[in-house]
Symmetry: C2
């Protein structure tokens, strides 16, 4: 396993971590101040400053991207399916312009939450079938653009409203079905927050292998969790044995960024520089 | 599948559902008023009125039990392990006195939450090993008392603080290891709240079979969930296709109670009779 204790060369900042403290330009400036070399920006943050300006700012700062957040939300009723498809194609184009190595896919839960306005459903099996088919469709477009897709399994707490792919196994099953040759066009984004509880985690990481491990995200699970979406912890403040998961991922050959993504009302309320200083310290000590 | 639309013969009330509105005696009186024929009482509610009085009240009301909540919280450091063992033996004795058909086991998460005062750990793999060993030990005592143990897999949102058995597969793996002959001494308690999201749910229910299906609990998953423990929904108010799960369980031969267990700050704030009337109406229409 790589030694992170003496620098933060392999720290990437998911820009949602400080989304309340400033826009994407301000975040990129802060990364420069703190010697952070990579980010994973969100689409709404890019849109807020304009794609061209975002591309220039990333380039001028000499930043790499560790991903682009996010594509997906595939589940929709018939009336909203074209919208979902086109939206995902635009995500591919944006990721390409930004030089992202992959698009992170949050696949959507039940259609009424994934694409608001869709007819309500309780059929999670149907949602999963739709996700499979929509990824197959998006993959054709993404392959042409040479843009890998990284399916992110989300914690089962989000099965209804954010993603009905809830385990690494499920994500890898889709990869095996749609890209059996392991071309690199399809893989997974593993976030310790979503997967740490999974009894099958270690064998599934081994099954993924280097070809399928496109992104690795860290934060922590707090006890108690006060908000199901926005109370994620700074690494070291919760119960996840983060190092053991990173060790398993790196044992497969993963050598990319360790991306910090923290949705937290607490951390959003602190100054950006304090958050980044803390991220760097924890990256060196508990990641 | 049984038709529940015309009566509530197979409704059981988990007494936690109205724990804030009255003590166990008041709940038993309310069940009599509403023609509810079975309950699943919690140990603290029994202790609050005294075991002997609880036994008499259950008997005098002609109530059946659908389970006894709860044994478990097995994970502990060395200093707290004897306490955990003895506590679970007392649970067996109480369940026997009350005439319960099984004890529901919530197995515990990390030791510092399961048995407060235990040395903190982030090792969920070790916790799971400890759960396996402790169930094996409890099973010896429970077999002598002829008291079946029902392992309840809990939603992964509770993996840290309440139960590190988080899927039906995991619970059944323990059953197969400790009771390969399917004697009826060990099985599972399935609560739709905890398992509805699981992609492997249907095959695992089939794997369980009648022998292992000792209890069936219902409530609903609300979107958004405002509190990770105490914002469970009344059946029909959330996203779970409850009928499809009951259908699968009954297809295996399960013919017991459909037990309503709702931890909800909202429902705890309403009069007991209103809650029970709503439970009965929903039992007939959406369970």
């Amino acid at each position: 396993m790589r030694d992170f204790s003496s620098d933060h060369r392999w720290l990437s900042l998911n820009t949602a971590t400080v989304r309340k403290q400033g826009d994407l330009i301000a975040i990129i400036d802060a990364c420069a101040r703190h010697g952070i070399r990579a980010i994973d920006p969100w689409r709404d943050q890019v849109a807020a400053v304009g794609l061209d300006r975002a591309v220039r700012a990333v380039h001028d700062a000499g930043l790499e991207l560790s991903g682009y957040c996010r594509g997906g939300m595939f589940t929709a009723d018939a009336a909203h399916r074209i919208e979902a498809r086109d939206d995902n194609r635009r995500a591919v184009d944006e990721a390409k312009a930004l030089g992202a190595p992959c698009i992170v896919l949050v696949v959507g839960g039940l259609p009424q939450y994934s694409r608001p306005g869709s007819v309500a459903s309780k059929d999670i099996v149907a949602a999963r079938t739709q996700v499979h088919d929509a990824i197959a469709e998006m993959l054709e477009y993404a392959r042409e653009a040479d843009m890998p897709l990284a399916i992110e399994p989300l914690h089962p707490a989000y099965a209804a409203d954010r993603a009905c792919v809830n385990s690494t196994k499920q994500a890898l099953d889709i990869c095996d079905q749609l890209d059996p040759e392991r071309t690199g066009a399809l893989g997974v984004a593993l976030d310790v927050y979503h997967i740490w509880w999974d009894p099958e985690l270690m064998p599934q990481i081994a099954r993924a292998g280097k070809d399928r491990l496109l992104a690795f995200h860290v934060c922590d699970w707090l006890v108690p969790t006060k908000d199901i979406l926005n109370d994620r912890g700074m690494m070291g403040d919760g119960v996840i044995d983060i190092t053991s998961v990173r060790s398993a991922v790196e044992a497969q050959g993963f050598a990319g960024y360790s991306e910090i993504e923290i949705f937290s009302n607490d951390w959003w309320a602190r100054p950006m520089d304090e958050v980044l200083r803390t991220c760097i310290a924890r990256h060196r000590t508990v990641v």
